[in-house]
Symmetry: C2
Subunit: 492 residues, 2 copies
């Protein structure tokens, strides 16, 4: 089992990598930049998928599946999108291997099996999907189309980090088609709100909703809505995006429809996505120097029961009680693991489940048996309580709810303490350097100032918050007039 983790204040980045590996979430693979998501990490992703999928369906969306490959000629059709992703495309050029006659037992790419047209491994699916929608849409009766896809995508990244930035990652991508601009805009905002609800209520991560500046927008979008979260090291993380694509893809793929008045018009589009990157956000928001801390709503198991015994008889006796408790909790839909493995000591198990962030740990020893009690430890605040066996179900339900809320509240408090209003660029630079977090500052709306600030401080405009109030001010960089504050931060 693992050693102690590097403390966060010593090396946050090292702490993160250690937690991912030691808590058995994921690891690097033999393929450059691609990760293996291990069962425990994947179980968290499954919980996230299940909940998001329910929310997508409740808002009228259906799932479908589109090809992994995008022929180059389709990929380049929407020029801005193509330009934005061209530099990170894995490209399939051949469709066969053959024996390498110079090296027996080895294979080589068969030069005779060169594709006429290269295939891009999808970095995102707008192109292949809009080329399909073209044949699905003739009239306003065919609209809206509200489709989501769960898939893997590939973006060739030079510097990768487990979950946060990997060459291949898992995600969902929604792609919708609408008859009016208004409807498409509403869909864009609706899905950003769905992401907000999911991330706040299930992941217990508070987010700020906003829109991106032109330079931070999705390639091919007219407006990008986003949710931004703050990590414990004071860096921001973009947790989800929802794009209003205007008629850009409809024009690139010539997708027109007959309106109810019989005119022909281009279709309006949105796309929106979240990915396994969210697991990175989860880790960095809640975890501590002892390991992962999981919000109960997303924990693969919410309660683990560890027996403490000497000899077989005692083990059996405790196991009976443990099984009964497990059943009672499961009746309330609480996810419970009873770890009755004999080859590991209780202390080892305690350490393991602390590292893995299981919200509640129930320990049962011979004395507990005698008094009909158990010991319950809570992962986030590291408290231990002795609880009567008849009270367990109520206690556990209560604690799980409390913990879910406590994690959110703590993260929100941290974020509130780390949004700093600044008025001068000197202040800006000092806050970015000393304190980190979000900086709320006036900006003149020009790309020049945005670029200059980024160059000097590495901070980018994370978003223009949806709830920003109009306010007379002057740009923190140029001094030119500004009508509202935007949020800056260094970001993952």
């Amino acid at each position: 089992m693992a050693n102690k983790l590097t403390p966060r204040d010593q090396d946050y980045s090292k702490w993160y990598n250690e937690i991912v590996v030691q808590a058995d979430l994921a690891e690097n693979s033999a393929v450059r930049g691609c990760m293996v998501i291990k069962p425990y990490g994947y179980a968290i992703w499954e919980k996230m998928q299940a909940e998001l999928d329910k929310m997508f369906k409740a808002t009228g969306h259906e799932n479908a599946y589109f090809p992994l490959f995008v022929p180059k000629s389709l990929f380049e059709a929407e020029e801005k999108n193509a330009e934005g992703f061209a530099k990170e495309c894995a490209v399939v050029t051949h469709y066969r291997l053959k024996n390498d006659e110079a090296r027996p037992g080895k294979l080589m790419v068969d030069p005779e099996a060169k594709l006429e047209e290269e295939l891009v491994v999808r970095p995102t699916s707008e192109a292949v999907i809009w080329n399909t929608y073209k044949t699905w849409i003739q009239s306003y009766r065919d609209l809206p189309i509200l489709i989501n896809q769960w898939a893997n995508v590939v973006r060739w990244e030079m510097r990768t980090r487990l979950f946060l930035r990997t060459a291949e990652f898992l995600w969902q991508e929604g792609h919708t088609a609408h008859a009016t601009k208004q409807e498409a805009l509403e869909e864009t905002k609706l899905m950003n709100q769905v992401y907000t609800d999911f991330v706040e209520n299930f992941m217990a991560i508070p987010v700020i909703q906003g829109t991106k500046t032109a330079s931070e927008r999705f390639a091919g979008a007219e407006e990008t809505y986003c949710i931004e979260a703050l990590m414990q090291d004071g860096k921001a993380l973009q947790a989800g995006t929802s794009h209003f694509l205007g008629q850009n893809f409809a024009k690139a793929f010539d997708v027109k429809f007959a309106t109810d008045t019989g005119k022909l018009d281009f279709v309006w589009a949105t796309s929106w996505g979240v990915s396994t990157r969210l697991i990175g956000a989860l880790i960095m928001t809640h975890s501590d120097d002892n390991g992962l801390v999981l919000p109960p709503n997303l924990a693969p198991y919410q309660v683990v029961i560890v027996p403490i015994y000497k000899g077989e008889d005692q083990q059996k006796e405790i196991a009976q009680v443990a099984q009964k408790i497990k059943s009672k909790l499961e009746e309330k839909n609480i996810r419970v693991k009873f770890d009755n493995r004999d080859k590991f000591k209780p202390g080892f198990k305690f350490h393991e489940y602390e590292l893995k962030g299981v919200p509640l740990r129930i320990a049962i020893g011979p004395k507990d048996l005698e008094h009909e009690r158990v010991e319950i430890a809570r992962r986030d605040i590291l408290t231990k309580s002795s609880v009567s066996q008849v009270e367990i179900v109520n206690y556990v339900e209560e604690q799980l709810q409390e913990m879910q809320q406590a994690l959110f509240d703590k993260a929100k408090r941290f974020r509130e303490e780390n949004i700093t209003k600044v008025e001068t660029f000197a202040e800006f630079q000092s806050v970015i350097k000393e304190k980190g977090g979000f900086i709320s500052a006036h900006w003149d709306g020009t790309q020049e100032s945005e670029e200059a600030i980024k160059k000097t401080t590495k901070a980018t405009i994370r978003c223009i918050p949806l709830d920003a109030k109009e306010e007379v001010g002057s740009c923190v960089y140029s001094g030119k007039p500004s009508k509202m504050r935007v949020l800056f931060a260094k970001a993952y």
Copy 2:
């Protein structure tokens, strides 16, 4: 809406293609050999996934995710596996596109972004997974590893057909590691049994369990267990396979473990999978000249309610009753769609749901309202009954159960009628030509006879049935002695 389907007896293959497209299950994409799985088809896949996933977890398996790409050097490590798949590998050779200066607005593969080592898009994941297991396994304490992955894979096929054979398809692949041969063999058989239970109970498709001959085995396996189903045109379809891989992959990737007696030994392996191909089997087993017929257990909606009305008042009145019925059915976990769209006529809707194979259709018109009855039509046997509104829930539950069983029974009867015992090769040839179906015949166990029969008749040995009885006989082709009958058929 669609035209009438080509009848099966006129052109079975055309009928199949038409049903896939007209029932909105899938369509060909712009990418050679890759399909778009449309929402209705994907909803069936989701039902299948959910059920299989439950069964995998109930037998102790966990999900994980491994990379899409396999570096060529890993891919070629297990030579038989590599040889088996080399001819159908999509290969990534570059990781970047750039502007094509000769053609403004177009992109080209950047020759400077050539990968040092080519990446194979996984046709199956043994190589990348066993290269990972190597670092996970040191001792018998680390075993067994029981992992499943839901993923897309790519096998470059020259002749493709929607669901049955596509370049990219969706599947699950289980990959397990064991300390003993015995345990690995048991796992192989267990998963073949899980597939049998799933396909028979949920898909209502009867299957024959067996093992493959050496020449039909999975590349790299020591034994392949399979389930074989019979389609309505008399061709067989392999519905799932479970492979005992021996120590082949452990040896190729040097995966050894310390046994409980302290010796070092190679790990034993299995792998097993089913794919979206099963949807092809589903269609071809149950559907008729009117369209798809779905077993209730897998139908995205089991009941559709169609109102028949004139004018808004009547529509409202009927909608109220329909909603009540819908709620009552949903309380019993029955999946119901109420199609209250005003822009389509009832006849159009009847046709659509018949084509889409919805098990039960409830029609409610003004006269039904008056008599507090509804009309219920069953998709498989095309009966219509008038049912009192108070009886609906019981009636629907009963009919869904009956239909699930009836589909299985019918398919099983058809299969029993189409297993023909033959003793001579003349008989063999005539049965294959005239009747089709499975042929139960003696085989001498040699690859020569197997190959010769395939060449002459296009029939292959589908499996050596698990329940085959020892029986003295002589090979239908060579006349040499044989100890048991095997099953031949032409196959998808």
